[in-house]
Amino acid sequence: MSGTAMTKIVYKNIHLENSHTLAVYKANGGYQALEKALTLTGDDIIDEVKQSGIRGRGGAGFPAGLKWSFIPKDDRAKYLVCNADEGEPGTCKDRDILRYDPHLLIEGMIIAGYAVKAERGYIYIRGEFYREAERVQAAIDEAYAAGYLGDRVMGREVRFQLAIHRGGGAYVCGEETGLIESLEGKKGQPRLKPPFPANIGLYGGPTVINNVETLSSVPAIISNGGAWYGKLGVPKSSGTKLFSVSGHVNKPGNYEVELGLPMRVLLEEYAGGVRGGWDNLKGVIPGGSSTPVLTKSVCETVTMDYDALSRAGSMLGSGAVIVLDRSVCIVRAIARLSRFYRHESCGQCSPCREGTGWLAQVMERIEQGKGVQGDMDLLLSISENIQGKTICALGDAAAMPVVGAIKAFPEEFQYHVDHGRCMVA
């Protein structure tokens, strides 16, 4: 693979003028996938999506087709929820879909709703995405007027109602059960699992929750077939992925590439190279703020897919590639993230409520030069004590960057403790 033009699926229209309008969308093949999908049965669609191998693009990477197939075939009202609460620091990929191609998402949602027999869908949009919410609402209005949404989708006996809900700005509402609570009008606190949303979700009904990017990939999968999509990318990480490259690169931005692309190619050929050249690279946080940082030596060879990053000790996550060059104090960077997680912990369960606060305070102390010997062990111990004991993954998300940074850059932490100041700045 190289930096040559790759298949674009999710971002294929966003360069077009007025790409957010129904007219432009239709002129570029929009809603043809829906037309095709309505000739298939729901199970056929789920099989197609399973065959495509697409994994959830929100961060956890759970196979989407499998998730859909968990919806029980009973008489209860089912719900489809799109998670557009894009809050993971570093991530801004969904925003461009909402902004420039909302009909792609709507089409994907109608197909998904038809597949799992959900007649009602919600798009939970991050509170800060005010203009995006307006755009999506306008697109929904267009879709209703054109008969894609409503009691008779494209004139058939298929119902699909779609509404948007703006969040209140809590990171934890991006967690699917926290999102459901918030959507139901309650305080955004994740639920205990089991039961999983596929069985008891929104308003107690079976619920599918997918990320914007996942749902926006569905029309292409239906149009071209799951097998076609499965051939993109690499085995077990099929298809294309949006990467939000930020930090110390010359051309930060959103890039859609096939999974399995070497990170170095992504940074050098797409994102314009690391500021000051490749050798100025210190490390990369490859999948959003909760994923452990990778050192330069790992970045040399690692490829951008679920398994390779996992083997490298990190995660693909939401695809937010945060590039850190040598000017960065890793302690300070991670302390900032810890403060974020302390602020965003919902406070419900003990390890996360107390642990994120403790982590942030110790990180801040070290950063300020007030660390003491043993603080690194303390941080590792607190992190270990949080991980795997919380209601949702936020506790893990808070612990992982700390652990990752201490493992990758122990000398920087030690320097802070020993000298009371930073070795970089």
Partner: protein, 808 residues
Amino acid sequence: MPTLIVDGKEISVQPGATIMDAARLLGVYIPHFCYHPQLSIAGNCRMCLVEVEKMPKPVISCAMPVSDGMVVKTDSEMVRKARKAVMEFLLINHPLDCPVCDQGGECSLQDLAMKYGPDRSRYHEFKRHAHDYDLGPLVETEMSRCIHCTRCIRFSDEVAGVPEMGAVFRGDHMQVGPYVEKSLTSELSGNLPEVCPVGALNNKPFHFQARGWELKKSEGICAHCGVGCHVRVDHLNGQVKRLMARRCADINQSWICDKGRFAYDGLAQARLEQPVVRSESTYAREEVSWAAALDRTAELIKRFKPEEIAGLASDGVQGGEELFAFQDFLRHVVGTTDLDHRLRQRDFSGDEQPLTRADLLMNTPLTALGKADVVLLIGADPRFEVPLLNLRLREASLAGTRIFAIHPRQLKANLANFSQIVLQPGAEVAFLQGMLQALEGGAVAPEAAALVAAWQGAKRPLLLLGDYAVSHPQAETIRRLAVALLEKMSALGSEWNGFNRLASRGNGAAAQDMGVVPHRDPGYKRLERRGRNARQILQAAADGEIKLLLLLGCDPTLEGVDTRLGRAALAKAYVVYVGAHQTPAAMQADVVLPGLAITERDVTLTNVEGRAQRSSMAVMGPVQAKEDWRIFRALSDRFATPLSYNTREALRSRMAAADHRYALDDLEPGELSAACDHSPVTLGLPLEAGAGQAVAGQEAGLVLVLEPTFYQDDAVTRHSAILGQLAQGRSAAVGSLRINPQDAARQKVQAGQSVRLIHGERSLECVAALDAAVPVGAVFGDMGQAAVLMQDLCDWEGGFPRVSLVGL
């Protein structure tokens, strides 16, 4: 049924049960904070993590449903490590103030910290401080100790039905408290300190009173309403320090109400401590020896003919033993048949009918209330009459039971699925007759349409007659109509009997059982020669026909329907007062024989279901006070035929012989006697209206309805300073006249204004309070408030008085 292995022990449990449930069945203790068997699962403390084979991470046992073949380890290395981790997190911001914390010694956090906590802290940052709230007179807060288990929030939302507690803010800034600082209004708020696993919410009256481990604990039964909740009486140096709920699945589950919990400080107040006799020559009252007091009483009794002597007993906080001895003494030693306990009852026409226990008590056990599909509350305000019964109704209503109420006042109900029909006082009989006719195919009044439709579709209808219905001028007609409504639905059988009459005062059921009524012996044996009822006794005493009144814990100048008549009776007749607390009647009695309070003796109490239970002695009473039944026993020695029992055991076997439901000696420890052990309901009584009396006079004016004040309803609660502080769960102050704003505007009366209430030649000054819950055309007042005795305006006959108002 899935089978799993917990710590090597195999057990089969119901599908859907959790690992915690299975462990509890096996007797395996899993440490926890947020889990409470009666609350929903929150799963937030993470203390109950256990290891399940084939699962990569520890799981919380309180929420994880079991599956077949699960292998659970509750004490493996992984589990111990996880618990230590959680424990450390809970402790880092918890103040180290156990030595001054009320919870110290009975604190889950303290206990588990001893087992899993680190011996020193790794936390060197500043500890978090949380804002403390003033939650009123019952609950004291120290929110820095809060571990955010949300038990108090879940209790308020789910059990009490008054969502007064919540959590604000996020992360380690999260704070539990009322959203807006205010007094708690729930009648169950005293349970909050009890569900709190740490010392964040404390029992305010108990604050700094004693340490948990110093307290001696006795098992008691609450006597302040008819539910008969199980309580634990904690006492130190002969003083009751606090009451706690004692779990009883069949009655009070895990809770008790604030009235029962906080009445204890009235126990030691204003006690009768020494026998007192009024000198016949000087009229001065003097403290005398027991022998002299008993001699004087015997002399008085011998001076008059048996028909010139009568007895009135309280059904409040008197035990079954003394009620039995009281009637035994009056009937068989004195030889009178004039005795009663029903001072609040207006309509005695039921006495002429062969009514039995089933007609007078509940027929649906508390545990079966939830099976009802439609409930009709007639003149009942269960939330402020029998709070723990109300919890059962609330549970049922949340599960879908439809609940209707007819009551003249808009109820402050905390029930789901609830609708009320507000009727003018006196419209009840016509309404129920209309409902009965509608069930027979007649026309349906629009306001009754939903009720009639629901009633017709009900499989297990349930009916509850409350305080207002029992004290109604047409109480017997209402009772018969209620029976007829159930008979229509075939709901009076042995499978399902939906007829329930609340004897809502403490021991009203025992007073009925023990025959403290003029027409029955104990065990519901009807008497040929019927004596005079409460009203007739007082009237006869006021007329000079009855010359001696024997009062057992009962004060007709405070408690009767007509306190003016009570005063007239006591002014004319000689009075012998037996009881524990000072009341106006006791302070003017010719002889006072001091008895013991409820916590100072072993006593039998019978609840609304007719379940007899024994409450044990906790503390000693005043030195000279005697167990009440022993007073009658000693008194009877001065007569030809003394009472035959010398010990409590002998008395109890006499009671058991009279009524088999009092044979409690055969019960296993912890076993309860049967509920609703009686049947059938008497059928076939005529239903014509007016069997009782006129409901209200015909003259112009507002109908005056008086209600007992929930928190000040008997000798103990009236003397409780803690309960005196409570806002009664309603807006108006105690003793004020509650009037509808429309009526108030018409009468040109403002809130807080003094008004004169006029009824015929009588009048009374009180303060008006505007209350939209009161219907137009009626005014409501409190019973039994010595400061404003509104019963002075009432007559026993003639129904509710009509009063006119003059603003002052």
